[in-house]
């Protein structure tokens, strides 16, 4: 019984229908972090295009020049923010890696911020076969 309870708990990640961000919410979140609307630019998001399990998806963001900040956003997770990173002077490469959750197939957006205030963004489409949450 305990084992079944565990299996049910592990499987059932139920999302409330209203708990979903949108493209507009993501734009607002990006503007709040970057201070402006980023231009499309050179930014690499390394991530599997086809994800089997949305609970822990490895992702690496690599900028082509020195930056002071990097961030990831999603339009269709419950919240648009994923992670905001600030890089100090001792950082050797303008990149970071993490593992994120994906509630459904969507376009992930990464934004970079340079020391002079410029910011730019890039996106990648990801297909999720087993989402981190049951789709509403």
């Amino acid at each position: 019984m305990r084992r079944r309870e565990f299996a049910v708990t592990a499987a059932a990640w139920t999302l409330l229908p209203e708990a979903q961000a949108s493209d507009e919410a993501m734009r607002v979140a990006i503007r709040a972090w970057a201070g402006r609307n980023p231009e499309p630019g050179n930014l690499k998001i390394e991530m599997a295009e086809l994800v089997e399990n949305g609970n822990a998806v490895p992702v690496r963001v690599v900028a082509s020049e020195a930056v002071v900040g990097l961030a990831l956003f999603t339009p269709l997770n419950p919240e648009p923010e994923v992670v905001h990173v600030a890089l100090g002077a001792a950082v050797a490469r303008p990149e970071f890696s993490t593992r994120m959750r994906l509630a459904r197939s969507q376009r992930i957006v990464a934004v970079a911020k340079a020391a002079d205030g410029r910011c730019w963004q890039a996106g990648v489409d990801v297909i999720v076969t087993l989402a981190a949450c049951v789709e509403p």
Partner: protein
Amino acid sequence: MATRAVITLPAAIKPGEAFEVRVTAAHAMETGYRSSDEGARLPRDLVRRFECRLDGEPIFTADLFAAISANPYLAFWMRADKPGELSLVWRGDNGFEHRETRTLNVT
């Protein structure tokens, strides 16, 4: 409950040479969107912030949100010119705080 954290650093570091720091902390990162078997909402319990400093100087800081997986993993590249102390701290909901320090073996 004592928190476990895994911090991966090279055993020996050359001055000025880039090396990767990989960190994982054991934490459920409960999003606040899940329900228990009984239908009650599981309260939000997240790690909100991670900071890595070298001798007090911030190197890598991250604000984490619900979309970061359980046992938050972060990796970045840094360089050091001389031996120093790397201090790492995770802070989160319900007063969560976990600190680790590592000595950088720069030779």
